[in-house]
Chain length 271, copies 2
Amino acid sequence: MNKAQLISNIKSKGSFLCVGLDPVKEKVPAHIVEKEDWIFEFNKAIIDEVAQHCVAFKANTAFFECYGSWGWAQLEKTASYLRKHQPDHFLIADAKRGDIGNTSSMYAKAFFEHMDFDAVTVAPYMGEDSVKPFLAFKDKWVILLALTSNKGSQDFQYHGSPSLFKEVMTVSKHWASSENLMYVAGATRGKDLQEVRKTAAEYFLLIPGIGAQGGDLAEVCKYAAHSKEISILVNSSRGIIYAGSGENFAQEAAKAAAEVHAQMQTFLQTL
Amino acid sequence: MNKAQLISNIKSKGSFLCVGLDPVKEKVPAHIVEKEDWIFEFNKAIIDEVAQHCVAFKANTAFFECYGSWGWAQLEKTASYLRKHQPDHFLIADAKRGDIGNTSSMYAKAFFEHMDFDAVTVAPYMGEDSVKPFLAFKDKWVILLALTSNKGSQDFQYHGSPSLFKEVMTVSKHWASSENLMYVAGATRGKDLQEVRKTAAEYFLLIPGIGAQGGDLAEVCKYAAHSKEISILVNSSRGIIYAGSGENFAQEAAKAAAEVHAQMQTFLQTL
């Protein structure tokens, strides 16, 4: 999916919500966990109900990988179901990969060839040749970690002057245009989002951290949204997919997603 | 495996060689590729022949992951074969993972519970809470990226003053002792290895980059080895596992490993 399509989807739907798929056995309803493909069945039910409220889905690979090859098969099923039934949604593999060039090429194959995600999150520590292989695919995206939503973001992301997160953006902007590079910028970092937006004015931001992690949607919109191109995808995982825990968990998830959707619609009308 | 066991294995074998398993279809001999489990069969043959010359094996997860769930099953088979047949070898999952706390916990489960690796390589960008979950396992190790062997290491790892790679080591030393934390320090960075050794005097270093990437073993030994505890694992992947390409590829690999082993034995005698 290219940038124009993504912006058009956001505007026509009135939503820049990304729903994160983090399947955790202890939180998935009991009647689903007893199924053979419980991860896929859980995701499928969530996807079917919440797709109307979001423009993107983000699969967190760790939550599949902890079950090894079986978990990876669930990820493949989920990705393939998404591609088939939600062709207009932007599909993110939240994998935070990154290695020397020939190794990153293999990761890129995993997510862009073997599966058909639109984007992969990538860690910047190893520099240009660790990121470039992901950028070699047409209409596929790198979402590079800049300023993350967790407490540990303070350990190194503010190191140096300019802060490392700004340096990462300033340098990596030379590797790719806003047509296939985005940045991760945590919702919990409040005003720093302004800095991120200034540093990468025309780039999309993937913003995790609203909901369970405590970030505030109104603040995110105020500091990070681009007046014309919107250019933000706001992710919520646990706050939506675990909104309910009974038979009607998927409808509860849809209700939680609908609330965020409504807030986003209202915000978009102010632009 | 704990630090004392690792040092003892190195001294008794006269080797601090780690052999990297990076299975690439185009490089694996044709008579192996035609087998159903060609990745496992290739690894198994290499492991059986080279184990006598090394103290560690490192599986690069990307080279399995690019084949999705099937590739992951090959990784599981390889890890389980290694654990069973080479119980004295230190087993590294070269995965370069790292995410917010609850996600890193899932990655730790993947490599330390679902599979039984001794160590995982972790990227430091997201800070303490992204690394800590890997450190919660007894006698399991984090190998944190400090100074990598690729060209892109120059993009961010020298950022700020002190350089980011030093800051990463200085800060992370407070998270864990040298009993379950190591650092990645590339062989191609020559004299910088001295800085790494100074910054983390008592910590083991995993040193990739000799062989195909151009690093020099004598230089590595000179700058990075610890006089009493050795404290280096030097990795070679392509230079060993693809030394031959015919029927006797595993014997050719063993010959290449034996050469490195001999150099290491000679070096260890000088200490």
